[in-house]
C-alpha cells in the first residue's frame, strides 16, 4: 500500500483530498451513526419496538445493521483494508463471516428450542 491511498468513500460519491481528511470524515460519520444508535436506544420509538421482521424487532435490526456499517468503515478505512489486495481482503473478511453465520444459526436455533422446552416441557424453573 505504502503511499497510495484510495480516497473515496460511499462508493465514490465522497472523495477526500488527503488521507488525513478522509480519516476525519470517517470519524464524523462513525460518531453520527453512534449518536443515532444511542438516541434510538434511549427513546425506543414504539413503531420500531412493536413491529417485527423475521421474528426480531425492527429496532434491533437497525442496531445490527448500523453496527455492521460501523464495522465496515473501521475495517476499510482505519485498518486500511480498502488499500489491500482484493484476495487478502476477501480472505480476511469472508472467512470469519462464513463461520460466524454458521455459529449464529446453529446456536440461536438450539437456544430457541431450549426456550420452548422450558416453556412447555413441564419443567419448573421460574419459582
Amino acid at each position: 500500500m505504502a503511499h497510495d491511498h484510495k480516497l473515496e468513500i460511499f462508493r465514490g460519491t465522497l472523495k477526500f483530498k488527503s488521507n488525513v481528511q478522509k480519516i476525519w470524515g470517517v470519524l464524523i460519520f462513525l460518531s453520527l451513526v453512534t449518536a443515532v444508535e444511542v438516541a434510538l436506544g434511549i427513546t425506543k420509538p414504539r413503531v420500531l419496538t412493536h413491529n417485527f421482521f423475521l421474528g426480531m424487532k425492527l429496532l434491533n435490526w437497525i442496531f445490527i445493521i448500523l453496527t455492521l456499517v460501523k464495522a465496515y468503515y473501521i475495517a476499510w478505512d482505519f485498518m486500511h483494508l480498502r488499500d489491500e489486495k482484493k484476495a487478502l481482503r476477501r480472505s480476511i473478511v469472508w472467512t470469519p463471516i462464513f463461520l460466524v453465520c454458521y455459529l449464529i444459526f446453529i446456536l440461536l436455533f438450539e437456544a430457541d428450542y431450549i426456550y420452548n422446552v422450558y416453556k412447555d416441557g413441564f419443567l419448573a424453573w421460574n419459582f
Binding site: 505504502a2 473501521i74 470469519p96 437456544a111 426456550y115
Partner: protein, 324 residues
Amino acid sequence: MDATVTTGTEESVWGGGNRPLGASYGKMMMWFFIVSDALTFSGFLVSYGFSRFKFIETWPIADEVFTHVPFFHGNYPMYYVAFMTFILIMSSVTMVLAVDAGHKMMQKKVILYMFLTIIGGAIFVGSQAWEWATFIKGDHGALETKGGRILQFVNAETGQRASLADFSKALPEERVKHESSKGIWFEKEGSQTSFSLNEVVEGFKATPNILIRTETITEEGHKTVLNREESLAKLKDAVLVVEGANLIHNEYGSRLFADFFFFITGFHGFHVFSGVVINVIIFFNVILGTYERRGHYEMVEKVGLYWHFVDLVWVFVFTFFYLV
C-alpha cells in the same frame, strides 16, 4: 548450493514477491491473529445470544442496569457507554493519524498521536473499571428466590425502583459473619448484606406502597409489577438478600447476564489493556528513533491494526450488550 529459497529478485509469489498479497510477514501474522481473535470474540457473543434466547422473557433490560454516570446522581441510561464508545473511536482516529504520519516519516507527529492514543486507551480502561465497580456494588438491592430468580421492588405511587434501604425495618437482631476460622473450615460467606432477609420481609409487610417486580418482561417491553396481594404471596419464595452482582448472585436479574458481562467486557478490557501496553512500548521506540533508523514505521501500522481491532470488537459488544 541454493537449497533455500531466495525471493529477493523473483516477483511472482502470488504477485507479491517475498510479500505474498502485498503484505509483509509481520502484517500478515497480525491479520492471522486478528481473524482468530475475532472468532474467539464471536464465540463469546454468540454464546451470550444463546443464553439470552434461552431466557428471552426474563433477561435483564440493559438500560435499567447501566444507568450511572460518574459524578452525577440520577438515571442516565446509556450515556456513559456512549461516551466510552466515542473515546475508543477517537483513539482509533489518533492511531490512524499516527500511522499516516509514519508513512510520511514525521517522527514528531507520530509521537504526538501515539501519546493521544495511549491516553484514550487509558481513559477507556479506567471507565470500564468504574463500570465494573458500579455493577458489582449494586444499585437498589433485591431478593433471590429458591429457584434463583430475582425479586426487585417498586414504589407503587411513583413507579420508580425502590431500594432496600427505603423500606427495610431495622430489627433488634444480630448476625455474625461466618468465617472459615470459626466453625467448619471449608465453609465461609462473603460480605454481609446491609439488611437481613427478615428485615426486608418485615419492612415490606409494614410498607403498603411497595410492590414486587419480577423478571418477566411484558408485551410492552417492561418488567412485570405484581399487585400487593401477589407481592405478599411472592415474598414467601424469597430466601436471600442480594446486593450488587458477582458470578453467583446478581441483583439485576439472570445470573448469566452478570457472568457474561464480566467475561466479555473483561476479556475486551484485557485486550484494551494489553493494547495500551504494546502502544507504550512502540511509543518509546518511536521516541528513541528506532523506526527512523529502520527507515519505515511499519511497526506502528501493525500495532495500529491491533488497536483498531479492539475498537471493532467494542462496536459489537456495545450493540449486543447495551443496545439490543
